[in-house]
Amino acid sequence: AQSVTQPDIHITVSEGASLELRCNYSYGATPYLFWYVQSPGQGLQLLLKYFSGDTLVQGIKGFEAEFKRSQSSFNLRKPSVHWSDAAEYFCAVGVGGNQFYFGTGTSLTVIP
C-alpha cells in the first residue's frame, strides 16, 4: 500500500536559518511527488512537484526539493526562512489515476 511519512510533527527555526523538511514514501514505482503548504484556515497551495527528469526541483517562495530514489525521499529545503513561511507543510504522492496520498504534515514555527 502507498504511504507517505513525514517524521517531524513540528519544527522550529530562526528567521534567516536554513530549513529541511523530511518526506519518505512507500510505493512500488516512482510516484509523482508534491509539496503543499497550508496557512491557518486556508486550503493547501502547491509549492512544487516532481514528475521526472532533474531530481532537484524548484518551487515558489524560494523552496526546492530533491528526489532521492535510493532513499525513497523527497525532502523540502529553503536556504533562508522568512517569518511568513510559518505554516503546515504536507508532502504528497500521486499514483496512477489521479490518486493522491498525503502525509500527516509538519508544522513550522519561525522565531525572530
Binding site: 508534491f34 503543499y36 486550503g43 497551495q45 512537484k49 514528475f51 489515476g97 502525509g103 500527516t104
Partner: protein
C-alpha cells in the same frame, strides 16, 4: 481566474442533524475531490469524480455520507446524520489533468456538538 469555491466556511450543528457542503471547482477542471482533514492530520480522500462519475468512493462512509456532482461541475457532499467524530475540515479540490496538481478550496470547518 477564480479558485475553488467552497461554502459554507464554518458550520456548527448538533449530532444527528444533517449537513451539506458545496463546492464549485475551477472552470474546466474535470476531476473533483472531496477530502476530510482531521486536526493535526493530512487530507484523506473521501470521493473523487471524473466529470459526473464517482470513480473512487472507497473511503466514503456510505451509511451516512453521500455526494453528487450534477452536470460534472458543482458538487455537494452531505452527511446525514452527523456524528461527533465527523468534526473536521472538509476540503474540495479540483485538477485539470491526470496527476496534475490539485487546487484546493479554503474548506468547510464542521463542528458537531
Amino acid at each position: 481566474e477564480a479558485g475553488v469555491v467552497q461554502s459554507p466556511r464554518y458550520k456548527i450543528i448538533e449530532k444527528k442533524q444533517p449537513v451539506a457542503f458545496w463546492c464549485n471547482p475551477i472552470s474546466g477542471h474535470n476531476t473533483l475531490y472531496w477530502y476530510r482533514q482531521n486536526l493535526g492530520q493530512g487530507p484523506e480522500l473521501l470521493i473523487r469524480y471524473e466529470n459526473e462519475e464517482a470513480v473512487d468512493d472507497s473511503q466514503l462512509p456510505k451509511d451516512r455520507f453521500s455526494a453528487e456532482r450534477l452536470k460534472g461541475v458543482d458538487s455537494t457532499l452531505k452527511i446525514q446524520p452527523a456524528e461527533l467524530g465527523d468534526s473536521a475540515v472538509y476540503l474540495c479540490a479540483s485538477s485539470l489533468a491526470t496527476n496534475e496538481k490539485l487546487f484546493f478550496g479554503s474548506g468547510t470547518q464542521l463542528s458537531v456538538l
